[in-house]
Amino acid sequence: MERSIVHLNIPDFYTGMEELRRPELKKHPLVLAEPAVRSVVQGVNDAARREGIREGMPLGHARRICRRALVVPPDLRFYGEVHRSILQEFARFSPLVEGPLPGRYFVDLTGTRRLWGPESDTAWRMERLLADRKGLHARVGLASSKLVSQVAAGCITAGDLSRIFPGGETSFLYPLPVNLLPGVGAVTASRLADFNIQQVGMLASIPAESLAGVFGAMSTRLLRIARGIDPTPVLPFREAARLTLVHHSDRDEIDREKLEALLFVQVEEACWNLRVHNRRPGRFALEIRHADGVTAKTRHLLPVNAVHIDQRLFRFMLPAFRRLIERRVAVRRIVLEFSDFSIPFRQMPLFPWENDSFEEDRQLQKALDDIRRRFGKQIICWGKTAVMHRSSPGQRDLPNRSGPGGF
């Protein structure tokens, strides 16, 4: 059976969300960025893009380019909710709906003709549904593979539909520039430019052996995408249970003690929730975003006994965290995530002294929890978190001769 994959691409999804919430923003160049001083642009609308502002640009730079740009903090939770609700809307049309990124959707309409009618009508209905219910317009591509439908959507404007009929893939793809192909990144595009291979058709026409001589193992994939061959299935979205805590600093932080204190606070918060819900996580993931946008991640399994007691869990995570923050660049965001939950149980210790130390920690934790439950979370805290309230390393270490304040 011929596959029918529809791709819906909502341009500037994040800013579109904001414009829907506040229609008065529509006329202005709009930039999504954290209110922090040195934050990075996370989303722009079309007007801002016309002014030269791009995603990933430092906010200060964006402001210099366009002083009248409106800066709005991104509400990722809201965007996530909308994204999930769109997925649910599309799930009415097919059980196979994939949302790799917010604003990007693949829906496999194969075999739905008798139920919904012609696929192009269905795709158009989906676009209308988006427009009516969410006020969003998408570029819609319909083809026999994810690859071609994605390229087809990329060639039109929002609110339009491009259908590539089976058998017409190559005649559609061949005149297009090679860098429109998903999977052709800057490096590959640059090498292709050296050989003056501008169009997809030129790339597709090169014999496989010849291409292999130059591009090696990559040549097979290149030829495949150039010829529009993409058998990858649409993978439905599945959400696994996870507990995520995000700390986003207003001021980038380089002080190691403060960073460790921030992590400890996150661990305390997570453990509190885990104890309340009586869950034991099987693994944790740590993600650090530095001030220059570079991120570092690590994932680890958690031992049975490391959980539920703040100190123990923190001690277990600390070496991994220290390896993450070794770079000499300030940290802007710390994300701590727990997953693989199960009902806690405890194995009896083999040696009696192990039990002593565990019991001591458990008792202390219980006492802390009791106090907090009764008087509030802020009433008592560990000494190591007090460091968070002290001044910056420079102010702490070095007498400031000219007093604080910006220029």
Binding site: D255, R256, D292, L398, G406
Partner: protein
């Protein structure tokens, strides 16, 4: 009365990246704390010793000389008790740096009377107790108590120290900051063992006593030991190089060689020459310079292309010995500027050599005089403004792009002082708020001022001593492996070490290469020494026109404009011009030009009318300042020379003292106040830098030689300029100049190009040196194979004969260097072929393994090259930018032609500016050089040289326009300028009113980057790569 406590273990900031206080700050703190003695014991060196002795003298402190000898195996403070102890310690420190297997105990000399050792290491103390006066060092804290037990057990007196690293407790954070910078760490991740304790400051006696209530003898012993150490380090003896000759009477040798010089230079002697020679020889002998002259003469004798410069060019002896080449008698150069009975310091002789010959020259000198007798002078490299900001920002974890955004706005800022003030007021920081933590960073950076960071090598200073250098000052190795002394030039001079400056000069290499090319092309070339083109009319014309790009010393925009305005190309005026062009002398330059063109003027005072007659009544040379001060205020020569030095160094305090004395002296001779003020103001125009006439004359002669070659052998000359990396301008600017001179510049070619650029007839062939990103080994192998077995006949041939890495082959192909071998293949097909052959073959991954390659040669099976279309022009330009650094095929302004078609306004070509004087016009511009200056009111403005396809032109951005556009002006892009054409003394310049960036995108003027496209195929990328100096 003996002091009860003396600090005997003190580090200054010359314990680099550890000590936080200057020697002045330490001496001041010592005086304030009531100390009369103070030791300086920097780690493994005497880096700041001479400054310490000077500071101690100024503050009335008795200095004790020592060092902390630190190795992986142990650490000890060693103090010099006698002058011999100093020499032994200097030797020991040198061995510490030079001997890889240095062991303190094994290397320590037998010197019980001359050296004292302080250490808390029982092993060291026990081992050295027979060889030096040993004491057990006791510091506050638990380790001190342990050391006291050791002292008691060994029966060795304890000595209390505080191992001082900073003068005041406030300086501790600076110590930590420097450690963090040094170790590439942040403050919070600094290991405790890498920093000292906060209490290690110069504590007063009473506070030290509180630390040692149980060991008063440890405190008292410091005073006793201080009393045993030599503190009278008043003056060092002068150390000249010694000349080695079989004859004992070196003066006779000097006289003989001068006599030979008279025959060579003048043909026969004359009374004026004899008189001058006798006077100079007398002074040279009395000042002890006989050997020095002979040594320098021998050094320059082996290298015919050189230029003796500085005040030594005033010496007839230098001229006769061949050290300098300007006749001091003919040009009336005053020998007194170099040597004078009243001169107390020891002037050195500066000689320039081709820049690439300097290392060989040092080797020659080393071979000739012996490695232990020669060392290079060091530089104490500190934190310049940008480096200080960058390093502190890194400690704060600021990302590199953000640091670059700040530091690029600080181009050309040198001193960290007043950083905050400058940032607050400079137009480049307008609309660029520096939010926290930047204010902290800037404040801290400004506090790093004057802190030495590491040792580097002075650009040419060489010390030659009669015996061994390490006797006088510790030596160590620089990055190249040469011996360098631990002092920079000022300390070396103050310590009596008379240096010889052997400096590298690119223009001398240009002249050498041009002469070599002429000889190769024509079979004969003029001799450098005999080349004296001062009367050549074509050369004078070139200098008069200011067409002097590439010509030594007169190629800067300011100098070219001065030449144009004066319309003088003769030697005498060029000497004046090379000296008058000083930063602080703009007003006098204008007045000079006015008078030169016949404007009447009155001399400042009749008594100096004769002195300044040849310079139209303007003070031009350093000697003018000296002589004017002598004539007007009755200064002695020595006093007047000190005034000259004080003006140069901009020492405000000393300057005001001199001003008073000068005014008094003038008043005593009845000179009106107004005249005194005018002359003093002219004196102050010599601040910063200025030249003496001999120096200017020496350089003017090189300028003439250089200009002569440009006029008569333009292709060879411009090729040599390009080969030697140019001077004031970028490679691209010199190529444009060559084209304006009617020379065709050809791209690189594997069969035609050499390493260097090569000029012949009316063409220049680009050298393979210009290709970026390629391994030097590949080019060397290519040139060697070509010279051995002849040119390459095809691509297969080159690949068979050479083992070229695939990446290098691609670069060669993209640069166009392989086009001549490509046959029917176009550039993309050529690249495809190379990549298939070099990457796709069976042994491509092991191609570096030569043996395997010999056994299994690269596959010669035919490759199918697909029918790829040839590149469009803009794609080829892009490849030129990538591989050569600029567009070679066309002027980069050609690329913006599609954008210009949309403009409705007329654009004037730069060559027609003179016809639009007084009018407001639009002109295209590609910046080639720029210079930011300050107005009298302290506002920034900028002079920028632009070029279009027709000519170079100068432009001025006055403060208002500069404030508006300084952030838009980069070096590697095209601009449309709106401005007023102005003419001064017949020289045209553009006063800019408005500046518009032009993108090279065919779509027109646009500021936005392109949508997702391949970076290499995108024509909107600037068509010139930035190399730091511009395009």
């Amino acid at each position: 009365m003996e002091e009860t406590f003396v600090h005997l273990h003190v580090h200054s900031h010359y314990s680099m990246m550890r000590g936080a206080s200057s020697v002045q700050a330490l001496c001041k703190a010592a005086v304030e704390a009531g100390f009369r003695h103070l030791a300086l014991t920097d780690t493994n060196g005497f880096y700041g010793l001479v400054n310490f002795l000077e500071a101690a003298k100024n503050f009335g402190i008795r200095p004790i000389v020592g060092a902390t000898v630190e190795t992986e195996t142990g650490k000890a403070v060693v103090l010099a008790r006698t002058a011999r102890g100093y020499e032994l310690l200097s030797d020991l420190l040198s061995r510490r740096h030079l001997d890889e297997n240095f062991h303190l105990v094994r290397a320590f000399p037998e010197a019980p009377e001359d050296l004292a050792v302080l250490s808390s290491d029982p092993g060291i103390v026990k081992a050295l107790r027979s060889r030096a006066a040993c004491r057990v060092e006791v510091v506050p804290g638990p380790s001190g108590r342990k050391a006291l037990h050791v002292a008691t057990a060994l029966g060795i007196p304890p000595v209390a120290t505080n191992a001082v690293y900073f003068a005041h407790p406030d300086d501790y954070p600076i110590h930590r900051l420097m450690r963090a910078i040094d170790l590439n760490r942040t403050l919070s991740s600094l290991p405790a063992e890498e920093t000292v304790q906060p209490g290690q400051w110069l504590k007063p006696e009473a506070e030290m006593a509180r630390h040692f209530p149980n060991a008063p003898e440890a405190l008292a012993n410091t005073g006793r030991l201080a009393g045993e150490c030599l503190t009278a380090w008043d003056r060092f003896s002068t150390v000249f190089p010694s000349y080695r000759d079989c004859r004992d009477d070196h003066f006779a040798v000097l006289v003989d060689r001068c006599r030979q010089g008279i025959i060579r230079r003048y043909g026969r002697t004359e009374p004026a020459i004899e008189e001058r020679l006798a006077e100079e020889l007398d002074l040279i002998r009395s000042k002890g310079y006989v050997d020095y002259f002979l040594v320098v003469a021998d050094i320059v004798g082996s290298r015919p292309i050189h230029c003796g410069r500085g005040s030594a060019a005033a010496s007839l002896v230098s001229y006769l010995l061949g050290i300098t080449h300007v006749d001091p008698v003919r040009h009336r150069l005053l020998f007194g500027r170099f040597l004078n009975p009243e001169r107390k310091d020891h002037p050195d002789i500066d000689v320039d050599f081709p820049w690439d010959e300097r290392d060989d020259l040092f080797d020659e000198v080393r071979r000739c005089h012996g490695p232990e007798r020669m060392a290079l002078v060091a530089n104490h490299t500190g934190f310049a403004a940008r480096a200080a900001v960058r390093e502190v920002a890194k400690v704060y974890g600021i990302p590199a792009p953000e640091i670059r955004e700040v530091t690029r706005r600080m181009s050309f800022w040198t001193h960290p002082e007043d950083l905050r003030h400058r940032i607050q007021n400079h137009p480049k920081f307008r609309g660029f708020p520096l939010d926290p933590p930047w204010p902290e960073i800037i404040d801290l950076a400004s506090r790093l001022e004057s802190l030495p960071r590491h040792l580097s090598t002075h650009c040419g200073g060489v010390i030659l001593v009669p015996d061994r250098v390490s006797r006088y000052v510790p030596v160590q190795r620089n990055a190249k492996g040469d011996l360098i002394i631990q002092w920079e030039k000022d300390q070396a001079e103050a310590a009596g070490l008379v240096k010889i400056d052997l400096l590298g000069n690119r223009s001398l290499a240009v002249i050498r290469d041009t002469l070599a090319a002429i000889e190769e092309n024509t079979g004969k070339a003029p001799d450098y020494a005999a080349l004296n083109p001062v009367d050549d009319s074509a050369t004078q014309d070139l200098l008069r026109r200011g067409d002097s790009m590439g010509v030594f010393y007169v190629e800067s925009p300011a100098m070219r404009q001065l030449q144009q305005k004066t319309r003088r190309g003769d030697f005498e005026h060029l000497v004046i011009h090379s000296s008058i062009i000083r930063p602080a002398a703009n007003r006098y330059i204008r007045e000079y030009i006015r008078r030169l063109h016949g404007a009447p003027y009155e001399p400042l005072h009749p008594s100096i009318a004769d002195l300044l007659a040849e310079t139209y009544g303007i003070l031009v040379y350093q000697e003018d300042v000296v002589q004017a001060a002598m004539i007007l205020a009755g200064f002695s020569w020595g006093e007047a020379d000190r005034l000259r030095k004080v003006i140069s160094r901009k020492s405000r305090e000393q300057l005001s003292q001199f001003r008073l004395r000068f005014s008094d002296g003038c008043a005593g001779r009845g000179i009106p106040r107004k005249v005194v003020d005018a002359i003093w103001e002219m004196f102050t125009s010599f601040s910063g830098y200025s030249f003496c006439k001999p120096h200017s004359a020496s350089y003017a002669l090189v300028s003439f030689k250089s200009a002569y070659l440009k006029v008569h052998h333009p292709a060879e000359f411009m090729a040599a300029v390009l080969s030697n990396g140019g001077g004031y301008y970028s490679t691209f600017a010199y190529i444009s100049e060559a084209r304006r001179m009617g020379i065709t510049v050809l791209g690189p070619d594997v069969n035609e190009s050499r390493w260097n650029y090569r000029g012949k007839g009316e063409t220049i062939r680009m050298g393979l040196q210009q290709i970026r990103g390629i391994h030097r080994d590949t080019i060397d192998a290519l040139l060697e194979e070509r010279s051995r077995n002849g040119p390459f006949v095809s691509i297969d041939d080159i690949l068979d004969r050479l083992n070229i890495p695939a990446s290098d082959a691609a670069i060669l192909a993209r640069s166009g260097a392989m086009d001549s071998l490509a046959g029917n293949l176009n550039r993309p097909q050529l690249l495809w072929f190379l990549e298939s052959r070099l990457r796709g073959g069976p042994f491509s991954r092991n191609e570096a393994r030569t043996a395997q390659r010999i056994l299994f040669p690269r596959s010669r099976m035919p490759f199918d090259v697909p029918p790829l279309p040839d590149l469009a022009s803009h794609q080829k330009w892009r490849q030129e930018v990538d591989t050569l650094g600029f567009v070679l095929s066309v002027h980069p302004l050609t690329a913006i032609e599609p954008s210009l078609r949309k403009l409705r306004c007329p654009i004037v070509p730069a060559s027609d500016l003179a016809r639009h004087v007084g009018r407001r016009i639009r002109v295209l511009g590609w910046p080639i050089t720029r210079k930011e200056v300050f107005t009298r009111e302290g506002e920034s403005m900028e002079f920028v040289s632009f070029e279009d396809r027709t000519a170079i032109y100068e432009s001025v951005f006055f403060p208002g326009v500069f404030r508006r556009f300084c952030q838009d002006l980069d070096m590697n892009r095209a601009y449309l300028l709106l401005g007023d054409v102005e003419s001064e003394f017949g020289t045209v310049s553009l006063t800019v009113r408005q500046l518009t960036r032009i993108n090279e995108r065919p779509g027109g003027i646009s500021s936005g980057p392109p949508a997702r496209r391949s970076s290499r195929s995108d024509p909107s990328i600037p068509l010139c790569a930035s190399d730091g100096r511009g395009c």
